[in-house]
């Protein structure tokens, strides 16, 4: 049992405040499973109060606490239900598009990345391939561990920023713009080497504070619509949101080819789209907030296999 699975009590309460607004759907979910969703938690508290009004307050409180502990221990916040990859929500045709490398347009970026991998750049006159091997096989499994802590600076890096750090530190080359085709291609090439491997990002050690920050962002209500990531991507997975199905929010297909974009794009671009959707303040691509959120999403997706380049709608 890892301690970060427990939702902080403060957050628990805070989320519970929205219970009234979402009750109609919470009720329908209660029938299906005992969930640790915070709103339900406060619902139980409320009913507990009426049912046991004649009992001593301390006993009720102790019972409530014990019940909460059992629920918290039994179901980690992010594992209320098996996480479904957005791949499994695609139409059969789009799914076939993702799984056929001859047809998946994301492979254009992977191939471009393979070419860039071998091209020399910067003052040191080196290419990625000079240190890491020409075929990128040495990168197998690397992306599955990202985002990860940079041993030198102690900061958190995702694959894109790791590539840029490598370029500036070892190649004497300029950092690539975050959403540029060059950086997307290189990142897609690196992540592609880990395709099929289970996501295994670590949330302990120096990564713990970043994980906590990411988790808080994930659970925090935001924007004019005042909803948190978790309310769609944990509590309403599989339901329709206009023309689409709500995904579990796995980051394992990124960089992914979104038909909406007509090109490959990063996870951070996708997160910006989500924040735009709830009319929230959007963070910058590569910002510390998105990095922390990316770490939380990656750890949350532990065990899910990497699909890059994914095809999304």
């Amino acid at each position: 049992m890892r301690d970060w699975m427990i939702v902080p009590k403060r957050l628990f309460r805070r989320l519970g405040q929205g219970a009234a607004a979402t009750q109609h759907f919470q009720r329908s979910q209660e029938l299906g499973r005992a969930s640790l969703d915070p709103a339900n938690g406060s619902d139980q508290e409320a009913s507990g109060r009426t049912l046991h009004a004649n009992r001593p307050q301390s006993r009720v409180r102790a019972r409530r606490f014990a019940a909460a502990v059992i629920v918290v221990l039994a179901t980690p916040a992010y594992a209320q239900q098996p996480l479904i990859s957005a791949r499994d929500q695609l139409s059969p045709d789009l799914r076939a598009m993702q799984e056929d490398d001859g047809r998946n347009p994301g492979m254009l970026w992977v191939e471009r990345g393979a070419a860039l991998w071998k091209s020399k750049d910067g003052r040191a006159g080196k290419a990625c391939a000079d240190c890491h091997g020409a075929e990128g096989a040495a990168m197998k499994g690397v992306a599955a561990r990202y985002p990860a802590i940079d041993a030198k600076t102690g900061g958190l890096l995702n694959v894109e920023l790791r590539i840029n750090a490598c370029r500036t530190e070892h190649m004497g080359a300029a950092a690539l713009a975050y959403e540029s085709d060059e950086l997307l291609s290189l990142a897609a090439f690196v992540v592609y080497q880990s395709r099929g491997l289970p996501q295994s990002t670590r949330a302990d050690g120096a990564a713990a504070p970043y994980f906590a920050q990411g988790q808080a962002l994930y659970l925090e209500r935001q924007g004019q619509l005042n909803i948190a990531c978790t309310q769609c991507h944990d509590q309403n997975v599989g339901k329709r949101l206009r023309g689409d199905r709500i995904s579990s929010g796995l980051p394992t297909g990124y960089p992914a080819y979104r038909l909406d974009w007509q090109k490959l794009g990063s996870l951070h671009r996708r997160l910006r789209a989500c924040q735009l959707g709830v009319r929230a303040h959007q963070f910058e691509l590569g910002s510390p907030e998105y990095l922390a959120l990316e770490l939380y999403l990656a750890v949350r997706a532990s065990g899910a296999s990497i699909e890059t380049p994914g095809v999304r709608r």
């Binding site: 056929d100 490398d101 001859g102 047809r103 347009p105 254009l108 471009r112 038909l259 007509q262 090109k263």
Partner: protein
């Protein structure tokens, strides 16, 4: 230079039907959109795609603004003799993208 991706067998038996898949990186800008400043984005699309096998045309397509970015085509042809398969895309700015693959027929 545009990125292309061709997936096809390197060799085939004589008379065998081979499937060829091709992707090309292209924005396929329709000409109907406007940028953030309200300026029209000029049309930029691939207009023609032609494939020849040992000098003979085996596949041809005309493309229009309704085609999505990074057009994908797959088609089949009969392996007749060892030869070059030449893929040629042409866009409305006159740029030509070509790619060549060799099919060995045994």
């Amino acid at each position: 230079m545009s990125q292309t991706r061709i997936v096809m067998p390197a060799s085939a038996k004589k008379g065998e039907i081979v499937e060829i898949k091709s992707l090309v990186q292209h924005p396929m800008e329709t000409g109907h959109r406007r940028d953030n400043m309200g300026r029209a984005i000029p049309r930029h699309i691939i207009t023609g795609y032609q494939v020849t096998y040992a000098g003979e045309e085996v596949f041809r397509a005309e493309l229009f603004p309704g085609v999505a970015a990074n057009p994908y085509f797959s088609f089949t042809t009969v392996a007749t003799a060892t030869g070059e398969i030449v893929f040629r895309w042409e866009d409305d700015k006159g740029a030509v993208i070509t790619e060549t693959r060799r099919l060995v027929v045994t």
